[in-house]
């Protein structure tokens, strides 16, 4: 047992403070008049009736002071004793222990979650602070509300992640899945639906031990199918399932935690879903809540760490993992208890090439051991070679979504993405640059991302910046939006010298996490706020948002859209709302980071139309993207490679429709 000196020192200071405070009280209420030499003779004041026993001030004597100090010593000693206790007891470890069982399991688990949430919270505060600067806001609400929204988002993701790993009140036995003859997944005439008319049909059987690839564009329903198989679709997301669904012979009617021993789930955003503070505890979580013995849990953690090559990371905090590492840790955490079916949602998003290779290898090895692995992913190239079965979300004759087991069928998206665009090709825009950024050098953590690069953009021009994950696109845009002195000029004025409103009129950024900019209760209030902040005409932003959200067939957003909560909008409409908010001051330059992230083809097309309309109104537009459909929108394409901006050819629109997203 080791005694840490920090808490003891703090307690000693506190004890000293306690004695001093007592002296102050005693002096103030005539408590230091105890004989001995009189040091100060303060005149005393008696308070009036009904508190006439209270006397203020009075003489201070030597003996009075000694008596007061001595009488304070027992309490001071108790404070000190608690300091020593603090120095010996590791409360975080006590909580981690208590969360594994016993009468205070849930409370201790909540504390462990809270402890593990801390670092992420600091990060969200940093991100949201930047977001509100981008919007030109300062108040407490623009900070507190997005941070709370993120907190709620994390709580919901975390709740789901605990649920699928078996966290529940009754540690009831898992449903019997011994029927080895049954298929891994059996869907008979199944229709999944969300309220709002969204449906996905599926009628298929997956054999045990297969590596199954489920493809289809973002937003086509891959995640919904996965969440239906884990039980989250009906239990947490509020969706419905009609038809007959069996997972390893068990009717999918049971709650997610009831099948936790059989089904492992790797969520799309593992960092939101981490329950524990360290990698080892994260991998152990499912086994521990499912009631495995301590020795068994430790053995499983060691095995999983070895399989996924994570031994060196076992003691690392989950909040310190890179994107690639966190996917591997989530895989280990989902499979350590050897479930027969593993559901993996978009494991390759946001990963660099090396991490992708490691994840693909890990998935293949799992399947080789007899586990059924179902991977939803729209970056198919790396996985298609190793997959035994391929499923596609396709459109049937009536245009409805259906999952089919035939890789030859056309996917649902590219067929419709082209016509949706309705953006005619146009001549390249040239002219005097409105945005000039010269000698831009960016480095993060000692790595040089960009060295003495220059970027000039003309009014009305669209420039796309492409590059691999981690190449520095986002850093570049952030740097241009909130630049240091002398790096970015708009219309000849250094952006760094501008005050808030002139800066909003010069340049605006729609960041990757665009939702962080929203903090009002309705779309109308959000737009009105933006109008006021920018000094724009009342109603301008709302009108702009409505215009952006109109589909080519003339169908606009529902008439009540203005009174809806911004976060009740679809992802695509939300992005358009942030675009409208950031365009309130009609900035001369608009920067957009990853405009297509998380959007389905229809929504992505709407964002492209909005960007095109913005450029045609005379704004210089810079987008950072790796989405070909967005690159095709640009007048110029610059690739961020080896710390340089290299000009590239603009892909033609025709070729876009053929490229699988």
């Amino acid at each position: 047992m080791r005694l840490r000196s920090g808490p003891v020192r703090a307690a000693a200071l506190l004890a000293l403070g306690f004695i001093l405070v007592r002296l102050v009280y005693q002096a103030l209420f005539r408590g230091l008049d105890r004989g001995g030499r009189v040091l100060v003779d303060l005149p005393s004041h008696r308070l009036p009736d009904p508190v006439d026993h209270v006397v203020l001030l009075g003489p201070i004597t030597t003996q009075g002071i000694t008596t007061a100090i001595v009488s304070a010593l027992p309490i001071a000693a108790i404070i000190l004793a608690f300091g020593v206790l603090n120095g010996v007891v590791d409360l975080a470890a006590v909580c981690a222990r208590a969360s594994r069982g016993g009468p205070l399991r849930s409370v201790a688990q909540a504390l462990v979650i809270a402890w593990a949430t801390f670092p992420g919270l600091v990060r969200s505060v940093t991100d949201v602070r930047r977001a509100r600067r981008l919007r030109g806001e300062r108040g407490a609400a623009s900070l507190l509300v997005p941070v709370m929204e993120r907190t709620v988002e994390r709580a919901v993701a975390l709740g789901a992640s605990m649920e699928v790993r078996g966290f529940a009140s009754s540690t009831g036995h898992a449903p019997d899945a011994s029927g080895a003859g049954t298929s891994a997944v059996e869907l008979r005439d199944v229709t999944l639906a969300h309220d709002g008319g969204w449906t996905l049909r599926a009628d298929l059987t997956l054999p045990r031990g297969a590596l199954v690839l489920l493809t289809g564009p973002t937003g086509s329903g891959k995640s919904t199918l996965l969440r239906a198989l884990s039980g989250l679709h009906t239990a947490v997301d509020g969706g419905t399932l009609a038809g007959e669904a069996r997972v390893l012979g068990v009717d999918r009617d049971v709650a997610p935690h009831a099948t936790a021993a059989l089904v492992g789930v790797v969520p799309q955003h593992p960092r939101l879903s981490f329950v524990a503070e360290t990698v080892a505890a994260e991998i152990a979580f499912a086994s521990a809540v499912q009631g495995a013995s301590d020795a068994e849990v430790d053995a499983r953690v060691a095995r999983a760490a070895q399989r996924f090559d994570l031994e060196a990371l076992l003691g690392t905090a989950t909040s310190h993992l890179s994107a690639g590492q966190s996917h591997l840790v989530a895989l280990a955490a989902a499979t350590a208890h050897a479930p027969a079916l593993v559901l993996v949602d978009e494991p390759l998003a946001d990963l660099d090439l090396a991490s992708r290779t490691r994840v693909v290898t890990a998935l293949r090895e799992l399947a080789a051991d007899g586990t059924t692995v179902l991977v939803a992913e729209h970056r198919v190239a790396a996985l298609r070679e190793v997959a035994d079965v391929e499923l596609v979300v396709a459109a049937d004759d009536g245009g409805a979504r259906v999952v089919v087991a035939d890789p030859g069928v056309a996917e649902v998206a590219p067929a419709s993405a082209g016509p949706l665009d309705a953006v005619a090709p146009r001549d390249p825009v040239t002219g005097d640059p409105v945005l000039r950024a010269h000698d831009v050098t960016l480095a993060v953590g000692g790595r040089v991302l960009l060295s003495e690069a220059s970027l000039d953009v003309a009014a009305g021009e669209i420039v796309a910046v492409t590059g691999d994950v981690g190449s520095g696109k986002t850093t570049l845009l952030n740097h241009l939006a909130l630049p240091r002195r002398g790096t970015a000029r708009v219309g000849g004025t250094d952006v760094a010298t501008l005050r808030r409103r002139p800066r909003l009129r010069a340049l605006a950024l729609v960041p990757d996490a665009s939702d962080d900019l929203l903090f009002r209760l309705t779309v109308a209030e959000e737009c009105a706020r933006a109008d006021r902040r920018a000094g724009a005409a009342v109603g301008a932003s709302l009108a702009r948002f409505r215009a952006f959200a109109v589909l080519p067939d003339g169908e606009g957003p529902a008439s009540d859209v203005a009174v809806r909560h911004p976060r009740d909008l679809s992802v695509g409409q939300r992005r358009l709302l942030v675009l409208a908010v950031q365009l309130a001051a009609t900035p001369r330059v608009l920067l957009v980071d990853e405009p297509s992230r998380g959007l389905d083809p229809v929504a992505a097309a709407a964002v492209r139309r909005a960007l095109r309309a913005t450029a045609e109104a005379g704004t210089a537009v810079v987008i950072a993207t790796h989405d070909v459909a967005f690159t095709a929108l640009a007048d110029r394409v610059l690739a961020l490679e080896d710390a340089r901006l290299v000009p590239r050819a603009v892909p033609a629109l025709e070729s876009v429709a053929k490229v699988r997203p």
Binding site: V107, A110, T151, V152, A160, L521
Partner: protein
């Protein structure tokens, strides 16, 4: 919640309340026991906290509720730790009151206890920690017991008038809670802080009126005019500025208030059942 758990919850809260008010209760106990009273108070509150937690632990076994409790605890503790330099417990009341309002009294109570527990993990605990836990828990629970919490669902669509009435209610509660929190925290500590021999010293033999007068003088000087007022102002401003939006965010999370240990859907159905309507 079972009947036994309810009873335990009630008894534990009464014990804690008695321990807070020990200086006013002592004259009623036999004189031989009077000397032991302060130490009994120090020992009883931690026991009461543990009992309440045991009673409430089973009511938060739903994963989403628990996750919400954990993440909000982190927010509360972060707010508290960030505010250490500028006056301590101030803004944390905003979180406690809004969460208690959105998710109910039991959730608010647990959040109060856990926020203090987490900040103690971060910055050390003392004999006052259990008292702080209970006092903060009461602040959260009280917010959950305020009237009119239930027209749930489409919160943002509620008309503006209703929204501002709710904010006014919560802000007024914030003021009351701020001063009440300061007063009860002073009540149990007053005899320890002042010591003997002053004109406002606690005296087991004095009348209730005299002791109350002394206590009021003490609490006025100690915190009512300073910390409690700052806390009341921060609570009002915080609730007014962020209240409606934060409440909407919390309510949209669809955490069932007062979640019981029941899982959303029955787990006992046999795998053979094939027809269903959801």
């Amino acid at each position: 919640m079972t009947r036994a758990q309810r009873a335990l919850l009630l008894v534990a809260n009464l014990v804690a309340a008695a321990a807070f008010a020990w200086p006013l209760i002592v004259p009623a106990v036999p004189s031989q026991a009077q000397a032991a009273a302060p130490w009994a108070a120090l020992a009883l509150v931690p026991i009461a906290v543990v009992l309440v937690l045991i009673a409430l632990d089973a009511s938060i076994r739903s994963a989403t509720t628990l996750a919400m409790l954990g993440t909000l605890t982190a927010v509360g503790a972060a707010v508290r730790i960030a505010g250490t330099g500028v006056g301590g417990v101030e803004a944390v009341f905003v979180v406690l009151i809004l969460a208690g309002r959105a998710f109910g009294a039991r959730f608010g109570f647990l959040l109060g206890v856990l926020v203090i527990a987490l900040s103690s993990i971060a910055s050390g605990f003392g004999p006052w920690t259990p008292f702080q836990m209970v006092a903060c828990a009461w602040v959260g629970a009280g917010a959950g017991l305020l009237p009119g919490a239930r027209p749930r669902g489409s919160a943002p669509r509620r008309e503006r008038g209703a929204r501002w009435r709710e904010v006014a209610l919560l802000a007024s509660y914030g003021v009351v809670a701020s001063y009440a929190f300061g007063a009860v925290m002073n009540l149990w500590f007053w005899p320890f802080a002042v010591g003997p021999a002053t004109s406002i010293s606690y005296s087991p033999n004095a009348s209730l009126g005299t002791n109350l007068g002394s206590f009021l003088s003490y609490t006025l000087v100690t915190s009512t005019l300073t910390w409690d007022t700052i806390r009341a102002v921060t609570s009002v401003v915080g609730i007014a500025v962020a209240g409606p939006a934060v409440l909407a965010a919390l309510r949209r999370a669809k955490v069932r208030p007062e979640s019981t240990s029941e899982t959303p859907r029955s787990t006992s159905r046999t795998p053979e059942s094939t027809s269903r309507t959801r």
